[in-house]
Symmetry: C2
Subunit: 695 residues, 2 copies
């Protein structure tokens, strides 16, 4: 320990101007070291010319470009346009909405967009191009977003805490607003704009009604006014009981005329503050939140009432499909489907139904949600969780592009082969009029924004995939590593490899073979597979893994809950037979005997143990690999990530020992060689995990 | 608003290397501009010589001095000692514990201390001397702390929230410890050491038992190992029911042998991790926390049991006296006194009883706690609150040195005139064997540590007064302003004046004339004088102000609750007669009729209104004064403080209107000229305040 202290002492106790605390994210415009590239780029960096019609967003684009070029190239950019050798930002109405084109023309580099946002996104694309040292000569790059609304959802509470936040306090300082504006607000907007995010819902879906009061609307307006300059629209999560809470009405029944009137007037009021307000995000009749079902009305009734209030302002309702009732004999897997499928076609045209990627709740791995492909008449937004509620908080390195891509590329077969979730969400399968995707933010007030430095990659990847879901996780990792950590050609592939392996490693040491929802209750930290009692049956672990002496797993075939029956036949065919079902989904759909031989040649028990042990070993592998790049990354970042990997190794051992020892009490089988029985006992593991459940 | 946005845009959207985000606190070692001073100082900055016996703290002192000198003077300090022209750190056992002397000798500057801490404190004193540009020639400066234990109490919770914290999340990242060490830990330790703080209690007094488990002790050890290098000792708040919670015992009865055994073993275990562990801080039988009274035992029984467990390790128990039971007919003012006074002399010699400055709870103004001077046989620690629970969170500028001094200089008359609270606490009145003072920290993960930049002054002032309570608030303000904000001779007095007036201004617009505890329930934000129902009668406002149509105030004379009778006769004489009682304490002790003429010439009603209105006007005055120093302070700091002052003005108006309108419903009198009746109605004010009570 003393050695470590002295190291920290040397590293940190004296400010090193070069030490990188992660605050600048991927927007680093440090002087390029590659002199050839720099010379190439400088040929186009003589001046910046902008359209004569200067909106706030165009000014943003101009100054961001100036800042970027001056940083990367090390010289001032002239304000006066010349004939050639500069960059021209211009409007081109023929390009698709929010898209851009970058090309060379007459000795200049021309960035065109059909609108302000398109030009801004083009600027960030160019800067990314330079930051990753790609060739500029002959560039001809065009791109447009595949999904229209690309938003972050913040589960931030009024008093500054964040539900499921692991990176400090909320970025929004409600007590200080509107008079005091934290400089971080703009840095946050920059980061979002740079990856194409164009909307944010500011507050927790478990919503306080206070945000709809004038006292708070003036605060929200202050943020909206700032974010607008980066092309970002503001949404609010609303409490469905607001008419009772704020309006002193006797009811919040969506069919009650007074209630409808209250919401209409409230919407008018909101738009007086924020003329381009996005709309309402709603969690209703879910986990204790109020909703239309209290009055015998449907989710469509509730959503449509709000939609009517917002329509004349071109506002939208984003209605979440995350609902499930506490039935010990049911299957939570099916509940959202059963609630929403019958409502397809009944939602107003400015309603989007937002569906989580999987049917349970952001597990390390889930099959895609059966609603995707099943709602041809209702635009579905896809909700990913960027914050690592079930992915080890801020102490575990999990690159989620792998998870996002796995879901996006899952085939629903809604209109035959190739009807991927991505194509459902981008509207191409069902010709949705409107398309949307949301990520539950992992940002907080920690200096590096995301707690784990490497979790910045998840914010980045969400934005990039929301823009273009055909990008590969490898491509995104490449960009992010080069912009954030290093361009050292020896280090880049090593770090990319860590990122690309990391999610499977996390699955291995926590929930291999399709296990799910066996984490510590409430806080969702660490393992608690032995959890049999909770406030709700579907908040226990046993509900999901159903272990006994004969085997483990949830039978969701026709012989069981038949959740599989919610999917198209082709999907069922993939997963129906335990012999051919991809092992990664096995226990999601099947009860399997301990001695059943799997395709790996191992019995289920041996394979389960192998994956738990392999997962822990793989964390050690990540530690070793990270150590290899020590000289190529900033020392403060190196130490921070190394420290967190060490924590992850400890936590992985806890997961392995807890799960193996607990399941072993049912399998009654030894841990297969070459692995060794855990040195700790099950009682020790239970005691350790219990600590985290204490007040 | 647009103008404001553009301003923020210009200010913040592009990193200004010179912009000051407040992170460096008062430890700024920027190059001195005063060339004469610099030349003078350089004559002693040729080298640094340290004792041959090099402890970690000596190394800290050495490198801090090197860093400071190099920054302030702009040249490297040689590692090799010469004959003269340098600084010599040396031990001098004749000096009082932790003290230091700074003098010139043989052409060198010599910093002597009797121990490592003394030398370190001497180094910081020298750096402060230079930062404030005082003369070095012929310096002969010595100082020693008047109180032995100078500690911060952190009310930080395990999951990263802070009870009554308004500056972001907890500094302690428990999930990341012990493997990952946030660079802020050392910066925090530096700041504390620089003002003489030598101990910290890391966790909330509403304590989780988890901190006593091995899983957490290894984390606590990691912090203790770091803090030790800055002379800071670690304490933990403990949950009195730990034997039941962690030890699975049937009881936590302090007289039960198994319980005593459990604590003894636990103490041994703690000291195996942290050999210089400070001890336990305990909140027992208070606000729902467990304690010895559940078993019919006294606070002394509880404290002594823990003291016994800690004794062989030289550990201490700090037992809080903040207890009160919910009796609608009682007077909370008297309860701690009635509980603890009879126990005087019954506490073990390694117990300190920690008493809040006033009898209720950290109000903007309170009379001193009647226990001070009443416990000759029991060392009393004084507990101040630095975090602004009742002082407007992080949006109100309140320099608390004024509050601290008011309490410290209050005369208990315990041993005749001059028996001030300060002299009780420093042990000179009762010859206490051990002395202690604690401040409830206002630190958090906000970049500037304390939310409001100006609240850094409260952390600073607490430390300085803990060291030497004879320092004036003016002297401390002078140091802090010069080290933190500016040395511009035109600006320094302006800022100091704002600081020195600020607390009285806050009292004026919230609780003038001795009003107290009329803030919003639960969160303690904003006014709620109309609060008549709460979970406890002594959590309402009416319990304290007792308003009706005849007058207002709590009669605590012999005709009333006789809380005044708890004080020495001389103190009673000061406050007993409403005609001569200092107006600042009037309604603390007296019910006064609305039409009663006060010493100001106004009736009570008119004086009350005058102070509320004057308070709001004074906030405007602070805004104007701050505007005058715009050019003398960093622009980012200027904007941030200006923004918060604007918020404070809005909140002050809310306080004024809410309180004047509410009390007016009883006084039935108009607002006296020249003031104007509030434009808002009482109903509007109630509605506004209610927003902050929503989920």
């Amino acid at each position: 320990m003393l050695k470590k202290i002295l190291l920290v002492f040397l590293l940190f106790s004296f400010a090193d101007a070069r030490a990188d605390d992660g605050y600048r994210l991927w927007l680093k415009y440090d002087l390029l070291k590659n002199t050839a590239k720099k010379a190439e780029y400088k040929r186009f960096a003589g001046f910046i010319e902008i359209p004569t019609e200067k909106s706030l967003i165009i000014r943003t684009a101009q100054s961001e470009l100036k800042r970027g070029l001056e940083g990367l190239l090390g010289n001032r950019i002239a304000g006066v346009a010349k004939k050639s050798g500069g960059i021209i930002l211009q409007r081109d109405k023929t390009l698709p909405e929010e898209g851009f084109r970058i090309e060379t023309k007459g000795g200049n580099l021309v960035i065109s967009g059909p609108d302000d946002r398109g030009i801004l996104y083009g600027v960030y694309a160019l800067l990314r191009h330079l930051q990753t040292e790609q060739p500029l000569t002959g560039i001809n790059l065009s791109s447009a977003p595949k999904i229209r609304l690309r938003m972050l959802n913040h589960w931030d509470n009024p008093l500054g805490t964040i539900e499921r936040g692991y990176a400090g306090a909320s970025l929004w300082k409600w007590y200080e607003l509107p008079e005091n504006l934290d400089p971080r607000y703009l840095e946050y907007a920059r980061a979002n704009a740079s990856i194409g995010i164009n909307a944010v819902a500011l507050n927790n879906v478990n919503a306080s009604a206070r945000f709809l009061t004038p006292e708070y609307l003036i605060k929200v307006k202050a943020l909206a006014d700032l974010f607008r300059t980066y092309g970002i629209q503001v949404y609010l999560s609303v409490n469905f009981a607001s008419p009772k809470i704020l309006g002193n009405l006797q009811t919040s029944d969506p069919l009650d005329p007074q209630v409808r009137q209250w919401w209409a007037a409230k919407a008018d009021e909101v738009y007086r503050y924020i003329p381009d307000f996005g709309g309402f995000l709603v969690k209703a009749n879910s986990e204790g939140e109020p909703g239309p079902q209290e009055y015998g009305r449907t989710h469509a009734d509730g959503a449509n009432m709000l939609a009517e209030a917002l329509r004349k302002h071109k506002g939208r309702v984003i209605w979440r499909a995350f609902v499930y009732s506490p039935d010990p004999h049911g299957d939570r897997y099916k509940e959202a489907f059963n609630e929403f499928k019958p409502l397809d076609g009944l939602f107003a045209d400015n309603v989007v139904v937002q569906v989580k990627n999987g049917p349970i709740d952001f597990q390390p791995r889930e099959p895609f949600h059966p609603l995707f492909g099943a709602m041809p008449e209702t635009p579905l937004a896809l909700e990913f969780q960027i914050t690592q509620e079930y992915l080890g908080f801020s102490t575990n390195l999990v690159y989620q592009a792998s998870l996002y891509k796995e879901c996006l590329e899952s085939d629903t077969y809604a209109k035959g082969k190739g009807s991927t979730v991505a194509r459902v969400v981008d509207g191409s399968v069902h010709n949705y009029d409107f398309t949307a995707i949301a990520g539950v933010a992992n940002t907080g007030s920690d200096r590096n924004w995301t707690g784990h430095l490497m979790s910045q990659a998840n914010w980045y990847a969400f934005g990039r995939l929301a823009w273009d879901h055909t990008l590969s996780e490898e491509q995104i990792a490449d960009e992010w590593v080069k912009m954030t950590l290093t361009r050292d050609p020896n280090a880049v592939p090593v770090i990319k490899n860590i990122l690309l392996q990391s999610r499977e490693i996390y699955v291995d040491f926590t929930t291999p073979l399709g296990l799910h929802h066996i984490m510590g209750q409430g806080i969702h930290f660490g393992p608690e597979p032995w959890l049999t009692q909770s406030a709700r049956p579907d908040w226990t672990s046993i509900y999901y893994h159903r272990v006994d002496s004969t085997g483990i797993g949830f039978d969701r075939t026709a012989q069981g809950s038949n959740a599989l029956g919610l999917y198209r036949q082709e999907v069922q065919n993939n997963w129906n037979d335990p012999a051919s079902c991809d092992l990664k989904y096995l226990l999601w759909f099947h009860r399997v005997g301990w001695d059943k031989k799997l395709s790996t040649g191992n019995t289920l028990w041996d394979e389960l143990c192998t994956r738990y042990y392999r997962g822990v070993e793989s964390v050690q592998w990540m530690q070793k690999e990270w150590n290899r790049v020590r000289k190529s990354v900033d020392s403060e970042i190196y130490e921070d990530v190394a420290g967190r990997l060490a924590v992850q190794h400890r936590e992985a051992l806890n997961w392995r020992d807890a799960c193996v020892l607990y399941f072993q009490t049912f399998s009654k089988q030894p841990v297969p060689s070459p692995f060794k029985q855990p040195e700790r006992t099950l009682e020790e593991m239970k005691k350790l995990v219990a600590i985290y459940q204490l007040k």
